[in-house]
Symmetry: C2
Subunit: 273 residues, 2 copies
Amino acid sequence: MKRTVFFISDGTGITAEALGQSLLSQFNTLEFEKVTLPYIDSVDKARAAALRINRAAESDSIRPIIFDTIVDTDIRAAISESQGFMIDIFGTFLGPLEQEFGAKSSYTVGHSHSIKQSSNYERRIEAVNYALDNDDGARTRHYDQSDVILVGVSRSGKTPTCLYLALHYGIRAANYPITEEDLDSNKLPEPLAQHKNKLFGLTIDPERLAVIRNERRPNSKYSSIKQCIHEVEEVEMIYRREKIPCMNTTDYSVEEIATRIMVSTGIERRSKN
Amino acid sequence: MKRTVFFISDGTGITAEALGQSLLSQFNTLEFEKVTLPYIDSVDKARAAALRINRAAESDSIRPIIFDTIVDTDIRAAISESQGFMIDIFGTFLGPLEQEFGAKSSYTVGHSHSIKQSSNYERRIEAVNYALDNDDGARTRHYDQSDVILVGVSRSGKTPTCLYLALHYGIRAANYPITEEDLDSNKLPEPLAQHKNKLFGLTIDPERLAVIRNERRPNSKYSSIKQCIHEVEEVEMIYRREKIPCMNTTDYSVEEIATRIMVSTGIERRSKN
């Protein structure tokens, strides 16, 4: 039996989705059809959303679930007139917080993902530019400005992790691919040796690495299991020898890799919202 | 008066932060010191966190606020023994959802940002690779595989938006910079003309553009206000002439630009979690 879930917000919908997904992941035997309705910032739009919720109720023969982060009480009321079962985040928590703070909520439309809320927004965009400019060992002369330098063999997850650290946390993350040449030499490449305290190593199971590399360059030496085993063994030896903190990325998402690096290294986010 | 806020999670902490920031943004006259404690996945770690909360209570002379997304009831209990004021997301909403679903929560540690939860995780990483390979007009021959092609003058926000669409939603977004040469010609560049239905235009206030460009290349013709006004006027004329949907990015964050493009174009996310 399929059940429709609505994530409804007066802003991007990112918070409603994050919370809803997090709660729904606890019910992994059930099947959900997920619909996000962002920018529901007027009573008219809310009424249209309510109609859509009611249509889903009818076609599913069961009432939909609603996760909403709408601040305006009139707009929220229009949603609550639908047949959906409402997990009403602001309605539930704003009251207790107002009491705790002894202050009234401003009831302004959700700005938690807006440029206004975050004076540090520009740091995130600067960090994205930094990550792109310092991706894949392209340049090494700006390493002194980095917060962290990810190292690892090709396709071990460096670039997406750097981009996530930049976009989400404003962290300046460079990355440097450890090549065969580096593996054969008995010392750290010079640009890395100069910034050893900023290095963080990624590693990955050779079997998984071979799968990923095969998508990029099928049936090459580069993507052979033999080559992958060799590179991973060697790079892990370097991490041990040089005492570079590291993690195996095989079972982790980019969000998890990024946050675990932050915990492990103690680097501070530059964007604090 | 400063007050400490803790975001505590057994996973990345991303959901607890998103929800907490969203609620706190309603109290914009108050000042908060924000601390995220991710991966609190044992009673011992929770007890250590509780000690930290109590220390903050003492030094602030007021009890901290806790936003937590901990699933395990024992771990949550250890946190709740601290002096903090707890906004307990799972404690509040899992009960009502269990009742509504007629099903028990699995009480598994938060996997909403893990690789396991999302069978579509790989699509997001593929989309990141797609965005990088098709950034800045570098290649145009894979435009048939794109979901959207962002166009705009240099530094109007194309690249960060493409990366966000990819990382967060698994959307394959290419981008193509409209150069002076393109502006002077009276027709769309050939690679764009072939995929006109996928184009989305970004524009930006010339004053803001000049500030951004000046950070990149100070005191150049490229970053002069005259040049910026010229380019923006011309590119907006192209959007009108070619009927390319577009938005002005000046006042919007990358999250807002990305979600507004999705609403405006109706492109579907490839990663559905």
